[in-house]
Amino acid sequence: MSALTTYGQRPNAYPGKLFIVEGIDGSGKSTQLALLTQWLRSEGYLVTFSEWNSSSVVKATTSRGKKRQLLTPLTFSLIHATDFSDRLEQQIVPALKAGAIVLADRYVYTAFARDVARGVDGGWVRSLYRFAVLPTLAVYFRVPLDIALHRILSARPKLKYYEAGMDLRLSTDATESYKLFQARIQREYEGLVPEYNLATMDATLPVEVQQRALRELVRPHLRGVAAAPGTGLLEDDEERTA
């Protein structure tokens, strides 16, 4: 196989910027991304948002597979890649071409961590996502497992079958299975940090401290990014990103 058939070979060649957040459930990444979205919009940038597992066409099949427990590690991986590919082609790349800031809650690293935790071959899943554009900035929210588990489980959620990793038969108890599964996913993430040079965030810090740090990570990439039409905000304040 040629060396090109793996993720990481397609740089973002478009005028827009792609910022993505990653981390296990309960790492607080979605909260931080929501705050970042508000900030960027208030600063006058054109911002679009893409969420993991949200392609309208593919979602019906994914839901069906989950509800009826038809998914195996292989088909779970492929249906999520199908969803991602559709969003990349129809949402992310067009927005990047238009010069927008694209924010993604989870990106290919979620698949690399989760699918490998399910027993899928790491080399295969990295080649599966070869078509993905490299993000401008990827931030991994690092949190001790017990804190993340406490954040999720103290709300007494009804854990879903695949969410809890019940398909792996790690435990017949959903909560126990979820803990073991999240631990596996976290191990994979920790390997991805050096492999893909992900920026890391200490997700135990207060929310506002993390948000300041996140904005500092993003700021250097905002030079020359176009404003949303009609806001006039950026033209008025050239100092801000300087």
């Binding site: 196989m1 040629s2 090109l4 058939t5 392609s55 309208s56 066409v57 593919v58 019906a60 099949t61 069906r64 597979g65 038809l70 998914l71 195996t72 590690p73 292989l74 088909t75 492929l78 249906i79 890649a81 199908t82 969803d83 590919s85 559709d86 990349l88 082609e89 129809q90 399910r118 027993g119 899928v120 071959d121 080399g123 295969w124 080649s127 599966l128 070869r130 078509f131």
Partner: protein, 235 residues
């Protein structure tokens, strides 16, 4: 040595060691007569006492509805379609093909990864990439390729009814009307299959010959393959 091998890393969580059946693939473009030959082959093998199962593209429990719906609206991205087909194939290999092989059946599949690889390449996918995606598949015991030139395909397809939108590659599209696009699209599919036939060692059958002659040759050849690898024996 196992009785079956994968092209790559195989299917996660699946051992191939306990598969005792045979995997026979019929390949060829749309309208070349695959269904006829699959049916005749099945009847022939059942006559000999073999248990036979069949599968074909987009027949999965998981993804067939979704693919049908996506085709109606033509709203899915091209590459996403390639992966949707891969999802369908993966579901069929896990839920249909492997269980049949485990039960000692002769599994006849009407097209396999090769047609899926060809249609993806024609739609712009990188050949190395799409082959890598399908590398979880097992090597079949034999692949029979019903070969025809696109010009010879046209009258056969027309005899069956109007040109099909997707079989004419109109999602790409490859010509200003269905006829032009059909000829160009099927021509490119056939060229890709010709290349794959050399790469993967298909047995090519000239589909312009008399139907009975083709099916006699196919049945005799498959019977030899089955005899050469008795049930349960390793390759």
């Amino acid at each position: 040595m196992k009785r079956f091998e994968s092209y790559g890393q195989g299917i996660p969580g699946l051992e191939l060691g306990d598969l005792t059946g045979w995997l026979i693939v019929i390949e060829g473009p749309d309208g070349v007569g695959r269904t006829t030959h699959v049916n005749r082959l099945r009847a022939h093998l059942e006559q000999l006492g073999y248990a036979v199962a069949e599968t074909g593209l987009t027949r999965s429990d998981l993804a067939s509805r979704g693919i049908r719906r996506a085709k109606q609206g033509n709203t899915l991205g091209t590459n996403a379609f390639n992966l949707f087909y891969a999802t369908d194939f993966a579901d069929r290999i896990e839920q249909q093909i492997v269980p049949a092989l485990r039960a000692g059946f002769v599994m006849i599949t009407d097209r396999y990864i090769y047609s899926l690889i060809a249609r993806a390449i024609v739609r712009g996918a990188d050949p190395d990439w799409i082959k890598q995606v399908y590398s979880f598949a097992m090597l079949p015991d034999a692949v029979y390729y019903l070969h025809i030139e696109p010009q010879q395909l046209v009258p056969r397809v027309l005899a069956e009814g109007p040109f099909d939108y997707w079989e004419s590659g109109m999602d790409v599209p490859m010509g200003e009307d269905l006829y032009d696009s059909f000829v160009n699209y099927q021509g490119r599919i056939i060229r890709e299959l010709d290349g794959l036939a050399r790469e993967y060692g298909f047995q090519t059958l000239d589909a312009t010959r008399d139907e009975d002659d083709i099916s006699d040759e196919l049945c005799a050849s498959v019977t030899r393959v089955l005899m050469k690898k008795p049930a349960g024996a390793t390759a």
